[in-house]
């Protein structure tokens, strides 16, 4: 199975919506790669514009936020915007249904931790790396001084989709 994990970026927000992830004006693009420069372009954190072009953002492979991640529109562009920026794990305390489904349909990971566990991630100091062990359902977060491990649950069908490389490949072989 594919390996997931790497440097993490933490976004201290609930309800990050699809319009913030990829504004509607870019929905006229018909290739995924064209979305690359615009990921999280309209995100507000603490009421201020988020620097979506920072070094930390470029390096990150994992994104951590709080609850109801990906609410709003059904645009899979929101998932692709992460995908084409090489971010293939999102960790949050909950996800909007369509966004979560779109993640697994693309064969990438939406990992749910409990709100208290997300708090613990936010409390860790310094640059963070997160690795995911899919066999054991474990998430390991590491900073220079600290190491924390959390287990998470994963729906068995979602896991199959990740293994199959997404829903289209799965459905094509089966139906």
């Amino acid at each position: 199975m594919r390996q997931f994990g790497g440097p993490a970026i933490l976004l201290d927000r609930n309800d990050i919506n699809t319009d913030e992830i990829i504004p509607a004006k870019y929905l006229t693009e018909i290739t995924k790669i064209a979305l690359r420069p615009h990921l999280l372009e309209d995100l507000l954190v603490d009421g201020k514009a988020f620097d979506h072009e920072s070094e930390a953002m470029k390096k990150a492979k994992v994104v951590v936020a709080r609850e109801n991640f990906g609410c709003g529109s059904s645009r899979e562009h929101a998932v692709w915007a992460f995908e084409v920026n090489d971010k293939d794990v999102i960790v949050a305390s909950s996800f909007a249904r369509i966004f979560r489904q779109n993640m697994f349909n693309c064969g990438i990971l939406a990992v749910e931790l409990k709100p208290e566990e997300i708090d613990q991630l936010f409390a860790m100091k310094g640059d963070m790396t997160i690795s995911i062990n899919l066999e054991k359902n474990l998430l390991l977060a590491e900073t220079a001084g600290e190491k924390k491990e959390f287990s998470f649950e994963m729906n068995s069908f979602d896991r199959e989709l990740v293994g199959a490389g997404g829903w289209l490949a799965y459905a094509d072989s089966k139906y």
């Binding site: 309800d15 919506n17 319009d19 913030e20 504004p23 509607a24 004006k25 929905l27 006229t28 693009e29 018909i30 995924k32 309209d42 507000l44 609850e67 109801n68 609410c71 709003g72 529109s73 059904s74 645009r75 899979e76 562009h77 998932v79 909950s94 996800f95 909007a96 249904r97 369509i98 966004f99 489904q101 779109n102 349909n105 693309c106 729906n155 068995s156 069908f157 199959e160 997404g166 829903w167 289209l168 459905a171 094509d172 139906y175």
Partner: protein, 426 residues
């Protein structure tokens, strides 16, 4: 143990139980628009899977940006047209016949009680007003739907909202749903179907039920759903009269798709709307809702009446009732978009378009328009819009803009005064 509408629909469409929680369902209708479909088509073509499982079950429209505003949107339209032609998709609605998907498709009679419906659009939940299971999905689900006619969902847990009490003067279905979202919060219904029932909903017409179901997703809901009844049968009669001898027979048959009295719900919420007053959103989340009284006097720059939430003929009539013989306030601009060609021509015949124009409104062709800030009616930074749409996210109608969601009555009253205004005062 009895079953909910959603459970009955799932049972009747089950292709495969793929895990304890997940079911793959057969689909009755796949709806398509030009924002999310072309990229699905391109991907299917690229993968050598350019097929449609059943062209009669696919309905497509160009509605978000129409007529095209630039080369890229023109290309999206072109891909749709060529695809529809290539696969002999008869129900394809192009310029001249097109309108906002969630208003147009019901009007064509495509949605029936007991159906499973998907579309690459989050407000697909609107169609649950007909007693269907209708859910927004992403592009990959759309591709599989087009190609194989199936989609996977988790077992449908349902939140039942029982609404009772008579709505006061100029208090609309929009005010009811805004108050419900305030109570549920933006993720209070995530992974849940929201079943709207009770005497108030039973009395609502299809347009009002669609307004309720349309915003189910703003509370995270998978689908809104109403019990199909005589109102549903009467609305659908022109399309189903070949299937049933009488309307009564249709109503009787629809009972298959009603929830059992002993069905099990994840949650039951009872609300009484007798004292409800007009509502409006503030901030960037649809659960940030206040009464119009609390927000009265807030200055706006633009008024937008339209969309899949409130762009139907009933909505235009409501707004026109207030605008008749009046002018919009100085310093504001106002746009009205009849949601479909039929709505537009009815509004013309009924003299509503004249009322809007005399009041100083710009009348746009049927399209999503300002609703998602992609084409006509985009806001400038720091501008404020009073809108009958469903989503007030940061940047939704243009970067740096603020959107206040409200009913057509409240939007019209606001147009006349230039500030957020209680429609009962006009």
């Amino acid at each position: 143990m009895g079953k909910t509408i959603a459970e009955k629909i799932f049972d009747a469409h089950l292709r495969e139980q793929v895990s304890a929680e997940n079911m793959v369902l057969d689909l009755d209708v796949i709806l398509c628009h030009e924002i999310t479909t072309p990229i699905a088509i391109m991907d299917l073509v690229e993968k050598g899977m350019d097929k449609v499982f059943d062209p009669t079950k696919i309905k497509a429209v160009i509605d978000h940006v129409t007529p095209a505003k630039d080369s890229k949107t023109a290309m999206q339209g072109k891909i749709m047209r060529e695809w529809a032609r290539r696969h002999k998709i008869k129900d394809f609605f192009d310029i001249g016949a097109n309108g906002v998907c969630h208003a147009l498709f019901p009007e064509k009679g495509f949605i029936r009680p007991g159906y499973t419906v998907i579309m690459g659009d989050s407000h697909t939940c609107t169609h649950g007003a007909f007693g269907a299971f209708a859910a927004g999905i992403g592009t990959t689900d759309l591709e599989v739907g087009i190609y194989k006619g199936v989609c996977s969902f988790r077992a449908p847990k349902t939140i039942k909202i029982e609404v009772e009490g008579e709505l006061g003067r100029r208090v609309a279905a929009k005010d009811v749903i805004l108050s419900i979202i305030k109570q549920l919060t933006v993720n209070g219904a995530t992974d849940r179907v929201i079943e709207f029932s009770g005497p108030t909903v039973d009395k609502m017409n299809m347009a009002e039920r669609m307004t309720l179901c349309n915003m189910a997703v703003e509370a995270g809901g998978t689908c809104g759903i109403c019990q199909p009844d005589r109102t549903t049968a009467e609305y659908l009669w022109p399309f189903i009269q070949g299937d049933y001898a009488t309307i009564d027979a249709a109503v009787e048959d629809f009972k298959r798709w009603c929830s059992d009295a002993d069905a099990e719900y994840a949650k039951v919420i009872k609300i009484n709307v007798a004292d409800l007053t007009p509502m409006v959103t503030h901030g960037y989340k649809p659960d940030q809702v206040k009464t119009v009284t609390e927000m009265a006097g807030t200055k706006v720059d633009q008024i937008y009446i339209g969309s899949c939430t409130n762009g139907r003929i009933e909505d235009l009539r409501a707004a026109a009732e207030i605008l008749k013989g009046k002018k919009i306030a100085e310093g504001v601009r106002a746009i009205v978009t009849p949601a479909t060609p039929l709505t537009y021509s009815m509004a013309l015949k009924e003299g509503l378009i004249a009322i809007f124009m005399d009041a100083g409104f710009c009348v746009l062709n049927p399209t999503c328009g300002a609703c998602l800030g992609m084409s006509a009616g985009v806001l400038a930074e720091d501008e404020v819009c009073a809108s009958t749409t469903n989503r007030n996210f940061n940047g939704r109608m243009g970067k740096g803009g603020m959107v206040h969601l409200m009913s057509p009555w409240t939007a019209a009253a606001t147009a006349v005064k230039g500030v957020i205004t209680d429609p009962r005062e006009i």
